[in-house]
Amino acid sequence: MRFALDEDREALRSTARELLTELCPASAVRAAWTGVPDDAAWNALADIGALAVLVPEPDGGLGLDETYLVPVVEEAGRAALPHPLTVTALVAAPLGVVGPTVATDLGAAGSVVASAGFAECFLLVSGGGLRLYEAHEVDVEPVETVDASRHCGRVRPRTGGRSVTEDPDAVAAAFDRGVLGTAAELLGLSRTMLELTVDYATQRHQFGKPIGSFQAVKHHLANARLEIEFAVPAVLYAAYAIAHGQPDASRSVSQAKWLAGRAAAVAGRAALQCHGAIGYTTEHDLHLYLKRSWALARAWGSADFHADRVAASIRL
């Protein structure tokens, strides 16, 4: 028994973290609100193999499993990377769609598709299977969303595309991987929102003291830290369960999504409250992470959807 991110996984994570810190700072996320996201961070992630972690080595990938990739996805969440790492690396790559930037409606069937504004490929639900379309094979109608850096759109195929899988089990597994990646991103976002707020609460003074010395502020932030603490192992376990084909894999991704969604909700509220009015503006960076977390909290199944999946699996 040993449950920890071991050295090689930690190494991949920290490489991803360093490059995201440099190439996807808040200013890059902000810039993605008004234009197509800059590819620098995405290309650098591709260079370290992060987009092909799950692709076998002979096919040019790293040939590793979800326990390596998920910490990297968490880092993408931490940076609020506007590119679809979850969809490209975790959902599409294991289905053999390797290379392009991918958008999908699998986690939001019938609704808007994230990254639709700039994706190179679309993986769309069709009957019981998934079909792939090049960008020029679909019509994208852009929609305005609360987090404009997501570049959501309504997508309609113009051609028949090509079949990726007709196997319902493969589709279900792809869905679970999408849920897992979203949970990891939410966890990363929670961490950023908490860190921003700890920094702010240490610097900002009122009544002659840092606001972080007030107990009400401390308790808000302790609550956020608490929810993060217990979402972390759930996300890591879900990655392990999928990687090892455990019978409780689907349940564990639902659990991870529920707990990470909760962590993001608690951290987000605490962050906004403890920033006061400065947090309540688009000029401060907090809103970039907050709005992403709101979108992801409901994407790939709401909290209730996942609680119901867990309920069914424990025979409630």
């Binding site: 028994m1 040993r2 449950f3 920890a4 991110l5 071991d6 996984r9 326990t67 908490l194 700890v198 609460a201 240490t202 003291k209 840092p210 972080g212 010395s213 107990q215 502020v217 401390k218 308790h219 932030l221 302790a222 609550n223 830290r225 608490l226 603490e229 217990f230 979402a231 972390v232 192992p233 759930a234 890591l236 376990y237 392990y240 659990q255 529920w258 707990l259 209730d304 609680a307 119901d308 867990v310 309920a311 424990i314 025979r315 409630l316």
Partner: protein, 383 residues
């Protein structure tokens, strides 16, 4: 990363499972109606149970063999706890000795203290209670004012302890006494081991929230504590260094006193209750949520134990676990009461458990204080 148990661990688990099933049945046949361990009668019943654990070498799995343990790692301890609570075995009335005092003896005791005290703790010969809190020293434990005055051949004790769990049924008390009258706050305490039958010591048991006599107050009126009153030195650690001993014990108490096994057992009972009583969609969601939190606690513990096995310290992170399990325990019991509806007011395991769960955020350092610790020591916010 490897989330499997070894074949040896699986074997031990099965051996233990069989033993528990068989021995619990034997014990229950022996005692008749089972009472709470926080009553005098129940305490006596549970000592009979402790005796069975002791004789089968299950009373302290993680202790070294030299002290009659099984040399178990923290993993073995986790397995033990899972099986123990799964089997529906009673609370450990010896837990203050086994889980709070013994780790301090291992860490701060001298050789003679280890050799003498540990076997007696393990055998349930000495029954220890925790004498930290006082009427004017609760969360602010540094406000302890019970005094120990050095005299020829021993100490003279004055003052009062309170909220002493099962104090009325125990034989000994470990706790903090101010030994340097000129000292302030955290300095000048000595951790003393005190037999409760000394002249000048009075113990008065009284009712907790559920009415059981689980609390006691202990009065010291010029009681003379000979240096060897416990068969060996009554000072644990150094004179004047009592705070250090208490701090290391507190972190064990917070982090490891409540293994996930307990809540896994409670949530399993809850699933049975919901099946018997029927749950609507909203209730099923609530139970699923509690289940997820229990399981998250199990997973987080696996991470913590991995870190401890790697030689890292538990430290302030123990406060996160304490907040989590205590608030989760209340939620589990509130769900049960809601499933029971108007039957919730009947005396029974759920109403009893509910009342006990409500103490969780108070003892072992209140949750407000734990949140302060998380904010200051984990997040680094200014004091």
């Amino acid at each position: 990363m490897d989330l499997t148990w070894s074949a040896a661990q699986e074997r031990t688990r099965l051996e233990l499972r069989k033993w528990l099933e068989h021995s619990l049945a034997g014990w229950r046949a022996e005692i008749g109606t089972e009472r709470s361990g926080d009553t005098r009668e129940g305490f006596a019943q549970q000592l009979l149970w402790e005796r069975r654990l002791y004789e089968a070498d299950w009373s302290a799995v993680s202790w070294p063999r030299a002290y009659g343990g099984r040399d178990g790692t923290l993993w073995d301890w986790l397995i033990f706890e899972e099986e123990y609570w799964r089997a529906g075995a009673p609370q450990r009335v010896t837990q203050n000795g086994l889980q709070i005092l013994a780790p301090s003896v291992f860490e701060h005791g001298n050789q003679e203290q280890k050799d003498l005290l540990l076997p007696r703790i393990k055998a349930g010969q000495d029954l220890w209670c925790q004498g930290w809190s006082e009427p004017n020293a609760g969360s602010d434990l540094a406000g302890v004012s019970s005094r120990a005055r050095r005299v020829d051949g021993g100490w003279v004790l004055d003052g009062q302890k309170t909220w002493t769990t099962r104090g009325a049924f125990c034989s000994h008390l470990f706790g903090l006494f101010r030994s340097d009258p000129d000292s302030e706050r955290h300095r000048g305490f000595t951790y003393l081991l005190v037999p409760l039958d000394l002249d000048g010591v009075t113990v008065r048991g009284f009712g907790r929230l559920d009415g059981d006599e689980g609390f006691a107050e202990v009065f010291f009126d010029g009681a003379f504590l000979p240096d060897d009153a416990v068969g060996t030195d009554v000072v644990l650690g150094e004179v004047g260094e009592g705070w250090r001993v208490a701090v290391s014990a507190a972190s064990t108490e917070r982090g490891l006193l409540r293994s996930p096994g307990r809540y896994q057992a409670t949530v399993a009972d809850l699933l049975e209750l919901s099946e018997a009583r029927g749950a609507d969609a909203a209730m099923r969601r609530r139970i699923a949520t509690a289940w997820m939190r229990v399981d998250a606690y199990r997973l987080q513990t696996l991470q913590t134990v991995t870190a401890l096995m790697d030689g890292r310290d538990l430290g302030s992170e123990a406060s996160l676990a304490k907040i989590w399990w205590s608030e989760l325990d209340i939620e589990l019991h509130e769900i049960a009461l809601d499933l029971l509806g108007t039957d919730a007011e009947l005396e029974g395991p759920w109403s009893k458990g509910h009342q006990f769960s409500l103490a969780g955020p108070i003892y072992a350092g209140t949750n407000e204080v734990q949140r302060n610790i998380v904010a200051e020591r984990v997040l680094g916010l200014p004091r």
